[in-house]
Amino acid sequence: MADLRVTLLGTELKNPVIPASGTFGFGREFAELYDISMLGAVATKGLTLEPRAGNPTPRIAESRGVILNAVGLQNPGVRHFIEEDLAWLREKTKVIANVAGKDVEEYGKICALLDGKVDFIELNISCPNVKCGGMAFGIRPESIENVTWVAKNALKTTPLIVKLSPNVESIAENARAAERGGADALSLVNTFTGMAIDIERRRPILANNTGGVSGAGIKPIAVRMVLEAAHAVKIPVIGMGGITCAEDAIEFMMAGACAVEVGTQNFTDALACPKIIADLGAWCDAHGVERIRDLIGAARMNG
């Protein structure tokens, strides 16, 4: 059996498969379906300083090969997570706390509260569904560098992953901005901003009008962006966007990702992550790959 372990910033993950933020809650519900300790890590639902009620419904829609969501960061607040869910989740596997602030200062405060308590922090600087926060930080290199610096300075021990938005001009430039700000790693991509219109009602399906596009249809764009980011920086990169199977995960690793996150596919198949883990092992065995980490960045460009 191939060795599926990967190392992320000095921490060993059993395998590179991580359920993506927002699709897996804090793990409790999926734990009723399978033993989530088999996962490389879990990325939590986006956490804010105070509890958030989120957007009106409908919050989800479907289009060919993709979905759109506009949850609006509903969550019970970071303190509630620390008190109620963190100990349970950490017993199972490595924890990536996904955080979102309404302004730069709040990012720092949330990071300070989580410092030393989780394995990684993933800074969501790119949520397209919250009017006053998220996205604003995630599109311009100067603001990315700034918010990363503030978050990093609030942290004494926990490594910082900055999650990049794909709704940008140059992913390489933004990747470098996060690295300059002090990010220990990057993750990408978050969702693409989109819209789906109900032509009978002549109105957008989502109550929020626009939403974040995810799922199989975004994969080729995400792979390209992960490769560009990985080439632009020296820090490790976690890849995601439309992963539905082990082969998709391998594609991201070959593009330069040292681990992958799986989002929408958890909806299509509640057992997606366990299946991908099993199939990654089978693929490596069938291809004579002894250590999956040997695949990281293995894709060579033509010409």
């Binding site: 897996f24 999926f30 009106p56 419904t57 989800i60």
Partner: protein, 251 residues
Amino acid sequence: MIETRATVLENVRIAENIYSLTFATEQPVPVRPGQFCMLGVTGFPLRRPLAICMAEGERITVCYQVKGRGTEMLARGYQRGHTIPVLLPLGNGFFVRQEEKKVAVVGGGVGVFPLVSVIRAYAQEKEIFSYVGFRTRAAVCMQYELQRSKELTVTTDDGSFGKRGTAVQALMENIGRVKPDVILSCGPLPMLRALKNAVGGKIPAFVSLEERMGCGVGACLVCVCSLSGGAHARVCKDGPVFDLTEVDLNG
């Protein structure tokens, strides 16, 4: 709650645009009345939530209206012997307390399907009074199952079958005589609002809600509804059945 590869036993049209799909799961599934399942349709990233109408061991029946592309594919693309991924059983379901003997069931359109499971579960031990409304004669279905009720009133909007009018009107025409201990309902929002106006707070009443879903298990928070106090509840996990007085139907 299990994720299973079910085998289609039957997928047949039972009324205008309405199909009945029976499948066998890989293992027996204990189902409470009012629970639902998430059916995976090949090529569609989101699963379709459908109420479980009947459940006997590994044999499960759902009934669905063809509305959009997913249910159209379900009706056209799945025949006996095909496999279909299903996540079930989901949600809280309807509960009837020991001391509640007379149960009024109020259903509109596709809302009758979760209520069929209630009637099947309680027809023996309770007195069930059913009021079900359809748009028109061609949409009427589930007659055989509904007739397990002690009393059944079928209405149609256009009067082409049964009584002209709505299920809530039929309930209100009989409520003084029947004096139900509890009302269980599912149907379109306007119907649920009419029910709330008519009986809200006077008689215990529980309604099953519909909302667009992602995970179906309570993790993604896309399916929320508002409770009267302003809090959010997940339709898939905290519902789909809610106390009529506690749920905000204006959203």
